[in-house]
């Protein structure tokens, strides 16, 4: 059971990484593009670049907001 949980955690980290918003944003974006292309039959390529930029901006914003001075790692650089 422990190994299954460990494998699940590894898969989550592998695909999702540090912030789930990135992976979720990509999934929503591709679903929206597919819906526009297949259901509404409209060109939907224009949605992807700004959508990807918005997902990147959202995940960066979350990372910066999570920063506090106390949380920063300030270990000294080792001697050359």
């Amino acid at each position: 059971m422990k190994r299954v949980a460990a494998f699940g955690a590894f898969l989550w980290d592998f695909v999702v990484g540090d912030d789930w918003v990135g992976a979720a944003g990509v999934a929503i974006l591709l679903a929206a593009v597919a819906a526009l292309a297949h259901l509404a039959h409209v060109a939907s390529w224009w949605l992807l670049p700004p959508g990807v930029a918005a997902v990147l901006a959202a995940t960066l914003r979350r990372a910066v907001r999570a920063l506090t001075p106390a949380r920063r790692t300030t270990a000294p650089h080792p001697p050359a």
Partner: protein
């Protein structure tokens, strides 16, 4: 797809991961001895080769539209992860990846671990895990690029070339490759993965890109501009959030 872009992406992605794996292998080998370390490296490399041999043909058998939306989506998610880290590092919001510091930490841990006679399980496990974990992402990138472009051999050649160059440089120097501009390389790989992930994911979802393959360099240029702006804005946001001067080099975890 442009063969040069394919080889460049797999070469750079593999190079970055190979540099990180090399640091761990050197820490194990130089402190614990080479026999068990090399056995760990060979075992992990064999496991990765089996994965490529097993999954490569399986991926090429999947219908192209399904492959592209699935693999393209994953590539896009990976690309955004790489780009996010690179932007945060460039903006001073995340620790720089410091191979010398990581080497020192791993070597110290290896030195203090108990030594058993004969086969050294610690060195084997350290080298095996280091190579396997760093290699898995490369395997995915190589497989997805190779399968989507129907040029598996070219993708494997790009990755193998990077591993050979990195290993040769590391063993010639006998120290971690600290001077490799790792964050810049990760930034470039993040841009390439995001570009190809957008292109293939979109095609799989039913998008017809204007100009077909000619859309790729345009997407790359757009994302480079977006990432450049993101660095500037993130730097400003970090300065507003953390008013005091921040250390320029910190140890990455």
């Amino acid at each position: 797809m442009n063969g040069f872009a394919l080889v460049l992406t797999t070469f750079l992605a593999s190079g970055v991961e190979a540099v990180e794996a090399l640091t761990i292998v050197l820490a194990a080998g130089l402190t614990r001895g080479w026999r068990s370390t090399v056995t760990g490296v060979v075992a992990a490399t064999a496991a990765l080769a089996v994965l490529i041999a097993a999954l490569g043909p399986a991926l090429t058998a999947i219908p192209l539209s399904v492959l592209r939306v699935g693999v393209g989506g994953l590539l896009l998610a990976f690309g955004l992860q790489w780009l996010r880290k690179a932007v945060l590092r460039a903006a001073g919001a995340k620790a720089l990846h410091d191979e010398e510091a990581i080497f020192a930490r791993e070597a110290e841990a290896a030195r203090t671990a108990p030594v058993a006679g004969g086969f050294d399980g610690y060195a084997f496990t350290l080298a095996f895990k280091g190579v396997l974990l760093e290699g898995l992402e490369v395997v995915f990138i190589v497989l997805s690029f190779g399968a989507n472009a129907h040029r598996m051999l070219l993708a494997v050649a790009g990755a193998a070339g990077a591993v050979v160059v990195t290993v040769a440089a590391g063993f010639a120097l006998h120290r971690p490759l600290a001077r490799v501009p790792e964050n810049t390389t990760k930034f470039v790989v993040g841009l390439m993965l995001t570009t190809f992930g957008t292109f293939w994911g979109g095609e799989g979802a039913g998008v017809h890109w204007p100009g077909s393959d000619a859309a790729l360099p345009v997407l790359l240029a757009v994302y480079a501009a977006v990432a450049g702006a993101a660095i500037a804005l993130t730097r400003r946001a970090v300065a507003a959030q953390l008013p005091r001067a921040l250390p320029t080099r910190v140890v990455a975890s």
